[in-house]
Symmetry: C2
């Protein structure tokens, strides 16, 4: 199952750090790419691509001006859509069903206001708690439950940097030959 | 087990939204309070308190100028310290041990550079993956694993707003009498 993330309605200055955290969380938790909606933020995309290159793996980020077209196209290609929203159904209730369907998943992560159409076109509207917190934590928890903890064992090949787990310090493997 | 969060080295403008997401994630995932280190950011603290009041529960946020004193005091009072860092040991490996010890936990969430002393004084340095992503997602995943998913069933009493889960829309219960 391929999992991609759509970040709706990014605003260049206001959302730069949150959207960056959304993208890096998507990568670290096993999504293969992010589509950036809203402002075309070249600097953010370059930053994310730079991290992805240095840390390995094949994560992509692409700009997507027309999110509604993307939703249509995704469904026409046989994929399913999961919209993360605090108004949705409890993640712990619906994730077994979502995991059970092996179709590719587009995970939609909103900004301040999400159009009604997104709720309607999504196969699942999923709440990671019904409390206000963060699209970053919602995405992390959703992917963690979707992949059932297997994302902890992902390998990111071909990067220059690798952290080696350590109880009390920092152990980093630098590989400049790539 | 009482769990509190220490946010190190908050910078008023640069970190406002990320730190807000850290605080709201702490609340939604079952921590009882956040200590804010770094800049004294009155506006941020008021925002978080306002959300906590409207959405219920007893979450607190307090300013803590001297994080090193807090670490000392926490240990002297019999608590344990968990530092979330990408350089630490895998969360999936160490969380059973952390959960097994019933002492109160202070979860330390860093900013850009974390002093060596934090690594040394922590009982556990814990990595939520060894990839770069976000202190927001690291905190969410750590608390989710620590509480073993029970945080999904938390009740936040006494607020004015409550979201009722919904498959396709928004159902919100407003209670202005509180």
């Amino acid at each position: 199952m391929d999992v991609k993330v759509l970040r709706l309605d990014h605003r260049r200055v206001r959302d730069a750090r949150i959207t960056t955290h959304v993208c890096l969380t998507a990568r670290a938790f096993g999504a293969s790419s992010v589509f950036l909606g809203g402002d075309h933020d070249k600097k953010l995309m370059e930053n994310v691509q730079d991290v992805a290159k240095r840390w390995g793996g094949s994560f992509q980020i692409d700009y997507q001006k027309y999110w509604d077209n993307l939703l249509e196209e995704w469904k026409n290609n046989g994929g399913e859509i999961v919209h993360l929203t605090m108004y949705g159904e409890p993640v712990q209730k619906v994730v077994p069903e979502i995991r059970g369907s092996k179709k590719d998943k587009l995970v939609v992560v909103g900004a301040s206001r999400v159009p009604t159409e997104v709720y309607q076109k999504s196969d699942w509207n999923v709440a990671v708690t019904n409390q206000p917190h963060s699209e970053v934590s919602a995405l992390a928890i959703f992917l963690h439950l979707l992949f059932d903890g297997q994302e902890f064992y992902l390998e990111f090949d071909g990067g220059d940097i690798k952290v080696l787990p350590s109880a009390k310090g920092k152990r980093v493997l630098m590989d400049k030959e790539h």
